[in-house]
Symmetry: C2
Subunit: 170 residues, 2 copies
DNA sequence: TATTGTTATACTCTATAACTATA
DNA sequence: TATAGTTATAGAGTATAACAATA
C-alpha cells in the first residue's frame, strides 16, 4: 500500500495541475448522467464569476467600491428616488443584504435616504454630489473591466453570452 | 421640491420594479462607452451566478454540502491522492480558502489527509467510505441542479455557453 | 394580510499576512 | 528562493428570523 502511494506521488510531482489523472482511472459518469466536472454548466459559471470578481476587485482597489456598491450607485443614478426594495429586486438581493450595502454607501456620503411622501413605509434613495463623482470614476473602471472581459469575444458572441446568461437569472 | 418628489413617488408606487424610470430620464451613456447596466457582461455573470447559487443551495439543503465542498469531493474522487495545492489551482482558490474547505470535509469524515512519501511538503487527499457515499448522493442532486440549468438551452447552446465561460476563467 | 425598513445573527467565500517545513 | 501547509484575521455577500410602522 505504501508503495502504491509512493508511485502515485511520483506522478503527482511530475505533472503540473491535478496530477493523479494519468495514474488513477477516473470514475466519471459511473451512475449518473453527468460526465466530468467540466461538463457542468454551474461549475463554469462559478469559475467565470470568480475570475470576473477578482479582476473587478483589482480594477476597483483604489476606488474602494465593490461590484454591488457600484451596481447600486448606477441604479440610483438611472432611477433617482428609487426605494430600497426595488433595488433589492432588481439586483436579486435580500432586504437585509440590500440594507448592508446601502448603509455602507450612506456612511461614505455617496447617497442620502429621504422620506417618501406617498408611501410612508418607503424611503427614497438619491446620490449625493460625492456619489455622482464616485459613479463617474467607477464608470471609467467599468469600461476597463468590461474591455478585459469583452476582448475574449466578438461583438456577436458577447451579445449571445448576455442572452444566454439572462435566461438563467430572469 | 417636495411636490416634485411626491409626483415621482406616485409613479414609483404604480410601477412594479425599478420605478422612477418613466419619470426621470436616464443618464446612461453620458460620458462612457458603456450603455445601460444591462449591457455589462459582468452584471449578467453576477446575476446568473447568484441565481445558480441559490438554486444549488436549495437543492443541497438536506445534504448540507456547499458548491465548493462538492467540487472538492468530485475532484478528489477523480484524482485520488491529489494534494491541496492542486485542488486550489484547479478550483482557482487561495491556499487558505482551500484549507478551510478541506478542514470542514475532514471534520465530517468525508476525506482523510495522508502523508506524501515523495515530497514531504505535500499531503495526499483521499475520500473515505462516507465521502464516497456523500459524493454519490451529491451527484443525484447535481443532476437535478444541472437539469434546472440546462432546461433553458438546447444542447448546442449549452455547449456554446460553456465554451464562452471557459474563455473567461481559463 | 402583505410590504418596507430595520436589527441581530450566522455561515460561506475570499483574501492577506506571517509562520514552519521542505524542495 | 520557491512551494506546501498552516493559522489568524478581516471583509463581503448571502440568508433567516423577528420586530415596528404602514398599506
Amino acid at each position: 500500500m505504501e508503495k502504491a502511494l509512493e508511485a502515485r506521488d511520483r506522478q503527482a510531482a511530475a505533472t503540473e495541475c491535478v496530477s493523479a489523472e494519468s495514474v488513477v482511472p477516473s470514475f466519471r459518469g459511473e451512475d449518473t448522467g453527468v460526465g466530468g466536472i467540466d461538463e457542468i454548466i454551474g461549475f463554469h459559471i462559478r469559475l467565470a464569476h470568480g475570475a470576473t470578481y477578482r479582476h473587478f476587485t483589482e480594477t476597483f482597489s483604489e476606488l474602494g467600491l465593490t461590484q454591488k456598491m457600484v451596481s447600486v450607485l448606477w441604479l440610483i443614478n438611472d432611477h433617482p428616488h428609487v426605494a430600497q426594495a426595488d433595488i433589492g429586486r432588481r439586483l436579486q438581493m435580500d432586504r437585509a443584504t440590500t440594507m448592508a450595502i446601502i448603509n455602507r454607501l450612506e456612511a461614505r456620503n455617496l447617497l442620502v435616504r429621504g422620506a417618501s411622501m406617498l408611501d410612508r413605509r418607503r424611503q427614497t434613495l438619491t446620490l449625493t454630489a460625492d456619489g455622482n463623482a464616485a459613479l463617474q470614476e467607477a464608470r471609467r473602471c467599468i469600461d476597463e473591466h468590461e474591455h478585459w472581459l469583452k476582448s475574449r469575444f466578438t461583438k456577436r458572441e458577447a451579445t449571445l453570452l448576455i442572452e444566454l446568461l439572462r435566461r438563467i437569472h430572469e
